[in-house]
Amino acid sequence: MGKDTFHGPLERVDACCWRIPKSYKQGMRVDGLIFTDERLLEQLKQDQAPDQVANVAFLPGIQHASLAMPDIHWGYGFCIGGVCATDPNEGGVISPGGVGYDINCGVRLMRSNLFYRDVKPHLRALVDDLFRNVPTGVGRSGRYSFDKKELRCLLNEGSLYLLGRGLATPSDIEYTEAHGRLDGADPDKLSDRALVRGTDQCGTLGSGNHFLEVQVVDQIFDEVAATAMGLEKDMICVMIHSGSRGLGYQVCDDALASLRNAPKKYGIELPDRQLACAPIASPEGEHYIATMRAAANFAWCNRQLLMQQAREVFASVFGRSWQELQMNLIYDVCHNIAKFEEHAVDGKRKKVWVHRKGATRAFPPEHPEIPAMYRKIGQPVIIPGDMGRASWVLVGQPGSMEKTFGTTCHGAGRAMSRTAAVKDAAGRRIDKELEARGVIARAQSRKGLAEEQPKAYKNVDDVVEVVHRAGLSKKVARMRPIGVIKG
C-alpha cells in the first residue's frame, strides 16, 4: 500500500507488543514499541509507519519508548497512532508534527432516551435533516460567527465561553476532557490568517474522515460501566468526529514554518523535516504551545456547537426538547494533542509532554482528572470505527499508565490508501451498499464516500481487541451506525 514496505526489525515482546530496537537506526534514543497482534502485524509492515515510529525515537528528551497503538498507519512525520513523551528537564522538545494539523481532532458521544424502534421509522428524515442543518464539506460556513473579540474569548476559555453564551450546559463541560479548556492559551499569538479561518468555521464538520453518526448500542460488554454512562442495548446515540478546522491547520502550518531553522539552531538531528521541533523551554516551543492550546479550545467549541445543532434536529424531528430526549454528553476525548501530564518513568514520577497523534487518553479508575461519576470505572474512551461496521466505547485501565503514558488507540486505522479505495469503489454506489446494510449515509462528495468506505479501514473490532488484551483500556459497549453524514 505504501511507497515502500518495512523491512526493519520487529521483535516480539509479548502477544500484544513488538519492539523496534534502538540499534535499528543510528540516532534513535529509545526503542520503538508497537502494540499490535499477529493478525495486524503483517498489515502494518505494508507501509512506512514502523519506520516513522523509529524516526520519532530521535526526538531529544524522549522518555521510555516511541510508542504506537494498533491502529497505526503511515502519516507524515509521526505515524498515525503514535505516542511520544518528552521531559523538559532532559532537553525535551515539543513537535507540532506530533499533534498534527488538525489540533484536538477528537470524538464525542451523546446518549438519548430513544431506542432503535423509536428512530427506525423516522431515520431517513432524521439523517436528511441532520445533513441539511449541520454544515459539512469543504468551504462551508457555519451558522455561528464570532467577531475578533468574541473569538479571542472563545480561544481563551474553550467550552466555558459557550456556557456563558447559553450554548453549553455545566454537564457538557463536566464530561469533556480537560473540561473543554486548556490553560495557557494565548490568542494574541495566533496569526491573522488563523483568526480569519476561525471566524465562520466553529460548528462545522469539515471533510475527510470527519463525520456525525447516529448509532445504536449493539452489545454491552461491561454492565457496570455502561450503566454509569447511561448506556443500554438498542439505545440511540450520536457520535461526532471533528477538530479545530482551518484555524487549527493554520496554527500548525505557522508553527512548522517558524521551526524550519530550529533544528539547526538547537543542534537537533532529524530524519524527516516534518518532525521539526524545538525545546519546550525555547521561544519557538513556548509560542507553539500557547497557540496549540488556543486551537484545542477552538476544537472543543466546534464539537460542542456540532452537538448543539444535532440536538436541535432531534428535537424538531421527534417533537420534544433535547432535554426531554435526555441527549446528554457521555464524554468528549481528543486524539491529536500534546499535554503536560504527570507519569511514572522508570519508577520516578515526573511531568512530561505527552504527544498523542491519533491516540486517545485512557486514564484508569481513581485518576483525579476523571469526572466523579466515572471515577470508579475509568475514563470513557470513544473509538470511532468505519461507517458500515462499528464504533466502540471503552474505559481506561491501569495498564495504560504502566505502558503507554495513559494512552490507547483512536480508531480503526486505514487499511487502504485513498486512491486504492476510489479504484476499488469504481462502478459501485457506496451509499446504496450501506443502505442495504441498514445505514443511511449522506455525503457532499461521492469520491469522499468512496475513500471512506468500510473496506478502506481495518476492522475496528480487531484493533480494540489488542488494547483490551494489552490492558490499556477495557471494552464497555459496541455501537453500530444507522445514519451517517459526511463532508
Binding site: 502519516g75 498515525i80 469543504v138 468551504g139 479561518r197 491547520y249 462528495s445
Partner: protein
C-alpha cells in the same frame, strides 16, 4: 503532467515537467485537481498574482502551494490555469480561476495542509520531478 500516488491516510501528488516553471504551474494544477472534481470547468475569469521568496526549491514549492491553498480557504477561490517564473531567489506566479460555485463545481477533498514529509524537487534526464504529500 501530474498524477496522484498512494499514501495511506493522505494524498501524494507527483508532478513531471520539462522545466522548472512548468513544474510549479503543474503542481498548482495538481493541488486544485485534488480539491475540485472537474478542474477544466473552472473558468479563468479572475487573476491572482503571488510573489514567493526563498532559495531552497523544495521550500519554494511548499510555500507556493501553501499560498494558493490559503487563498482557496480564505476566499474560496478555485484556480485552473497558472504561469510561473522561478528565479534563484523566489518566484512570481499568476493563477486564473473563479470563486467556488456550488452549482457548477463539486469539491472533493478538504486539503488541510501541504506537508514536508517526502517533499521532493529534483532534476532528472527527462526534466523535473516533484513529489508532495497533502494532508486530507
Amino acid at each position: 503532467m501530474y498524477e496522484t500516488f498512494d499514501h495511506t491516510a493522505d494524498l501524494g501528488l507527483r508532478i513531471c515537467a520539462p522545466d522548472l516553471n512548468s513544474l510549479f504551474a503543474e503542481a498548482a494544477r495538481a493541488l486544485f485537481a485534488a480539491l475540485v472534481e472537474n478542474l477544466d470547468a473552472v473558468k479563468p475569469t479572475r487573476r491572482l498574482d503571488l510573489v514567493v521568496v526563498g532559495e531552497d526549491r523544495e521550500y519554494l514549492l511548499f510555500d507556493w502551494l501553501k499560498e494558493l491553498l490559503y487563498h482557496f480557504n480564505a476566499e474560496h477561490l478555485l484556480l485552473s490555469r497558472f504561469e510561473v517564473e522561478v528565479r534563484s531567489d523566489g518566484l512570481q506566479g499568476s493563477g486564473w480561476g473563479e470563486p467556488f460555485d456550488p452549482a457548477r463545481h463539486e469539491l472533493t477533498h478538504e486539503v488541510k495542509a501541504i506537508t514536508y514529509h517526502g517533499l521532493l524537487v529534483e532534476q532528472n534526464d527527462d526534466g523535473w520531478l516533484a513529489e508532495v504529500i497533502v494532508d486530507i
